[in-house]
């Protein structure tokens, strides 16, 4: 079998029809990760309560688990108990046909939270201690100092790294095919099953990912340049 570029086109169409699934998976999990990861980072930074110490132990452990294992484990851990329930109550296989994208979302959100909490932690530590002291000296509370002075500065440092995190999530979302979610990769692959043009299908899906990731990467590059300019203008932080 030889390579025939003309087969890329139908696979590309099929891949683009499921583009929204890949985008939902990566961007929703990114938003969840940002919303949950930032408090985790703040809590770990300030050693607020016992939860900070618990998180300090938990996050490095969770960081060691690859995304594919999260997806496989959540798929199993969420579906199997429901299976037993549905058997007991004779729900037939209604749950079997449940949209698995929710499982992908849960798994990717956990992974994103861990990843982004590390990003935000290093961004928080890049803001100098003098900023807090200055805030306290003018009578701001800890919470006000964090919200109005420190976090906005940390966000500037974090922005390019967060773009890298989005790229990782977009690329990582391709693994959800192991539980049968129809995303860009799975859709392109399925379209190739009628003619066995798998190489062309993989190239088609690679093109889709490449365009999205290059776009996000470009935004990250722009943010990094702007940040460097801002630091230079402030006389070097």
């Amino acid at each position: 079998m030889t390579f025939d570029a003309s087969y890329i086109w139908p696979s590309l169409i099929a891949a683009l029809q499921c583009l929204h699934v890949t985008l939902i998976l990566s961007f929703v999990s990114f938003c969840v990760g940002l919303l949950l990861g930032t408090p985790v980072a703040v809590s770990r930074k300030f050693h607020a309560t016992w939860t900070s110490y618990a998180l300090g132990v938990l996050i490095p452990i969770l960081k060691g688990v690859p995304l594919v294992l999260y997806v496989l484990m959540f798929n199993f851990a969420i579906l199997k108990p429901l299976d037993a329930l549905s058997e007991y109550y004779a729900w037939a296989d209604g749950l079997r046909r449940m949209d698995k994208i929710y499982i992908g979302l849960v798994a990717m959100s956990v992974s994103a939270t861990v990843m982004i909490s590390e990003t935000m932690r290093s961004a928080l530590s890049s803001v100098s201690e003098g900023q807090y002291e200055a805030c306290f000296s003018v009578g701001l509370t800890k919470w006000q100092a964090l919200r109005r002075v420190v976090l906005p500065q940390a966000m500037v440092f974090a922005a390019p790294v967060l773009c890298n995190n989005i790229i990782s999530l977009i690329k990582g979302s391709s693994i959800v095919f192991v539980v049968g979610i129809m995303d860009v990769l799975n859709s392109a692959k399925t379209s190739a099953q009628i003619n066995y043009r798998f190489l062309e299908a993989y190239i088609a899906s690679a093109l889709v990912y490449w365009v999205i990731c290059a776009t996000v990467g470009r935004i990250g590059w722009f943010l990094e340049k702007r940040q460097a300019r801002g630091v230079a203008k402030a006389g070097g932080a």
Partner: protein
């Protein structure tokens, strides 16, 4: 089907799954060794703006960084035999593991090239000038003066890359490789106890990442601190 989750099985499966750990480590080893060699060449092509090679390196690095390693693996698996057929080399009988090694080495080459490039550029030009002034050749300067200093700068990013490469090996099972996750899947198919196998695999990954992280941090503190 019996119990959903039986902790006793974790201990039973652990030796079975651990026996496949060498496969995972083999992939990581060749990914990093092959990636470092090829990555250095790519970095040099980019730094010296070698005509054509520079453009090819930019294209390759952008492609690898912009697409999932999963897809790269399958493109190598289906594409490499076709490509080499043009040169009259038949590799259709290759073991699947070889394709995984090639694709992981190519993937890491792109990431390491960027790390190595920025590390080499961070060595001041005066170092090369000083080396040339005492009569070292270009390759001697690179090998003895630039590379050791660049290595020091690149080390933290390099360590992070090794840990990433190890976590990426979890995807090799999709090609049917019996690494630790592949073995966990095989046990799951045989015994219907999948979750226990996954837990064992997760523990192995966690321990390996933590070990590597602390080892790299230790080396950085001890050996590389001035």
């Amino acid at each position: 089907m019996g119990k959903l989750f039986d902790p006793a099985l974790i201990i039973e499966y652990a030796p079975l799954i651990l026996s496949r750990l060498p496969v995972t480590l083999l992939i990581v080893f060749w990914a990093i060794v092959g990636g470092s060699v090829l990555g250095t060449l790519l970095a040099l092509a980019r730094i010296h703006k070698v005509p054509f090679l520079n453009g090819a390196a930019v294209f390759f690095i952008s492609f690898v960084r912009g697409t999932p390693i999963l897809i790269q693996m399958f493109i190598v698996y289906y594409g490499l035999p076709l490509l080499l057929m043009y040169f009259g080399i038949n590799i259709t009988r290759w073991a699947k593991l070889n394709f995984v090694l090639v694709s992981y080495a190519l993937n890491n080459a792109a990431f390491l090239a960027e790390i190595i490039r920025s590390a080499i550029l961070s060595v001041p030009a005066s170092q090369s000038e000083a080396a040339w002034s005492v009569g070292l050749s270009a390759s001697q300067t690179f090998r003895r003066i630039i590379l050791p200093q660049a290595f020091r700068t690149a080390f933290p990013a390099f360590g992070a890359r090794v840990i990433n490469a190890m976590q990426d090996t979890a995807l090799a099972f999709t090609l049917g490789i019996l690494d630790i996750l592949g073995q966990a899947q095989a046990i799951g198919i045989r015994t219907y106890h999948t979750l226990e196998g996954y837990v064992v695999t997760a523990i192995i990954f966690i321990v390996a990442s933590l070990l590597m992280e602390h080892t790299f941090a230790f080396i950085e503190r001890r050996r590389l601190a001035r």
